[in-house]
């Protein structure tokens, strides 16, 4: 995946086989994208008979070792559904090497967005600019949460009720901690707190599952697009808001936190959800709850590292992230009383 010459050859052969309009094409400028911690990403250019297209490759790390194990086929199906139904801004997924036989690992090839990441865009503007981006972000995530649940691909689990769903999510907490060899008292304490401080129910919706500043792209016209759909599922929409705030603490700026009141007002206006359901307290609840899945992946990989079954600097580094997240959890609980 990191050998540009090898990957360029493989991509050219794969695209030629997948799409006759790319027969005999040349792949150039293969460049790994820095920043993803679960998938391998790279940008490249395809040239064919004077036509030039930019793509992004999104693939499982060869040989395993991903911090999160997710299904590229499920992600492909969800992205294709969302692109086909329209209404939501995301890069079109064009090709899929399902079994990795052509590219060395299961991989999705998407159209590249000409622009920059929201992280860079947000760091380049002042506070007023960040507040404006926050409102755009409210529009974007409200659109996700208004997608028709009944039409979503069948592989997405349909919880029977909000209570059942939340029961399952809280149970995940205990299961994650108990499956890890080293006890994590923060998880157990917070898990017990989550169970005794449940928020009012919300309608179940499509949830991106990794809604964070690094997964939003800004195109040349300033429009936002949402990428990385590997954790898409049907759940509580406040998970996305809470997760955004958690990641915002590690990767500032937190575009919700810069003016949370305005963000939430805009979000409520667009979704029709009440302020009893969507408010800083309920978002904070999901800041904590929503971190279970990713934290589970981090703990699982840390355990494999401890057992000598994997070697990865990125995984070693996530041990530091664990401590930071502990701080965010206790901070959120302290703020909630």
């Amino acid at each position: 995946m990191s050998d540009a010459a090898v990957m360029s050859q493989r991509l050219a052969a794969f695209l030629s086989a997948e799409d006759s309009t790319f027969a005999g094409c040349e792949v150039a400028d293969y460049q790994p994208i820095v920043g993803g911690i679960s998938r391998m990403m790279a940008r490249f250019t395809v040239k064919c008979d004077g036509r030039v297209e930019q793509f992004v490759l999104r693939a499982d790390p060869p040989g395993g070792g991903a911090i999160l194990e997710t299904d590229r086929g499920a992600e492909w199906a969800l992205i294709r559904h969302l692109v086909d139904t329209g209404g939501l801004s995301l890069p079109a997924a064009r090709y899929f090497d399902r079994d990795g036989s052509a590219l060395g690992t299961p991989a999705i090839i998407m159209e590249a967005i000409e622009g920059t990441s929201l992280v860079s865009a947000a760091r380049a503007v002042d506070l007023a600019g960040q507040c404006g981006l926050g409102l755009q972000l409210a529009d974007l995530v409200a659109t996700v949460h208004q997608a028709s649940v009944t039409d979503l691909p069948n592989h997405l689990a349909r919880p029977s009720s909000w209570d059942t769903y939340l029961d399952g999510r809280i149970a995940e907490w205990a299961a994650v901690e108990r499956s890890h060899k080293a006890p994590d008292p923060f998880m157990r304490y917070v898990g017990a707190w989550l169970d005794t401080h449940r928020p009012p129910a919300a309608p179940l919706t499509l949830v991106h599952g990794d809604f964070q500043i690094a997964n939003v792209m800004v195109d040349g016209g300033g429009a936002l697009s949402l990428v990385d759909w590997e954790l898409g599922h049907i759940g509580d929409p406040r998970e996305d808001l809470g997760w955004f705030r958690l990641v915002g603490a590690t990767t500032p700026p937190d575009l919700i936190g810069v003016d949370e009141a305005s963000f939430l007002a805009r979000y409520r206006e667009l979704t029709g959800l009440s302020d009893e359901i969507v408010n800083p307290g309920t978002v904070a609840y999901f800041t904590i709850l929503g971190s279970a899945q990713v934290f589970s992946g981090i703990l699982g990989q840390a355990a494999l590292l401890a057992e000598g079954k994997v070697r990865s600097t990125a995984i070693a580094y996530t041990v530091l992230v664990q401590s930071f997240i502990h701080g965010v959890w206790l901070g959120a609980l302290s703020a909630l009383g």
């Binding site: 006890p183 590690t250 990125a314 041990v319």
Partner: protein, 149 residues
């Protein structure tokens, strides 16, 4: 065994050179991020090797003292009782002993939330806060995830 320079000094020296010498010479930004992560892990390891033995001893003693009082104050704490019994066996391995004490803290934290014992709950929360303070010392102030954006 060589003790000077200390282990932490050795780690910090390598970390410094990774950032000051190695990273600037690399063109591939993905590799630069990996080098930055290496330096962060080495810096954290330097803090840990300076402190963790003392931290684990101090935390374990404080945890077991509070957890025993939680167990005495709340009926039907089978998991906590078992964790305390396991800790009472004693262990020459500091990490194992710390993990057993951590399990007792986990159990105490769970049960104290459901009990109307605000003082004991406050003590458990202080244990968590102390543990967090040590963890945050390891990762350093102003921690930001490397390579995002």
């Amino acid at each position: 065994m060589i003790t000077r320079p200390s282990t932490s000094q050795l780690l910090r020296t390598v970390s410094h050179d990774l950032l000051a010498v190695v990273a600037p010479a690399i063109d591939d930004q993905a590799v630069v991020v990996t080098v930055q992560m290496m330096a962060a892990v080495l810096d954290a390891a330097a803090v840990r090797c300076e402190n963790e033995a003392n931290w684990m001893r101090a935390e374990s003693a404080a945890i077991l003292e509070v957890a025993a009082r939680v167990a005495a104050a709340i009926p039907d704490t089978a998991e906590l009782d078992a964790a305390l019994a396991a800790s009472a066996v004693g262990d020459s391995d500091a990490v194992e002993a710390y993990e057993r004490a951590s399990e007792a803290l986990s159990c105490a934290a769970e049960v104290v939330l459901g009990a109307d014992l605000p003082d004991l709950r406050g003590e458990v929360e202080q244990l968590l806060a102390a543990r967090l303070a040590n963890e945050l010392t390891v990762i350093g102030a102003n921690f930001e995830v490397i390579g995002r954006g």
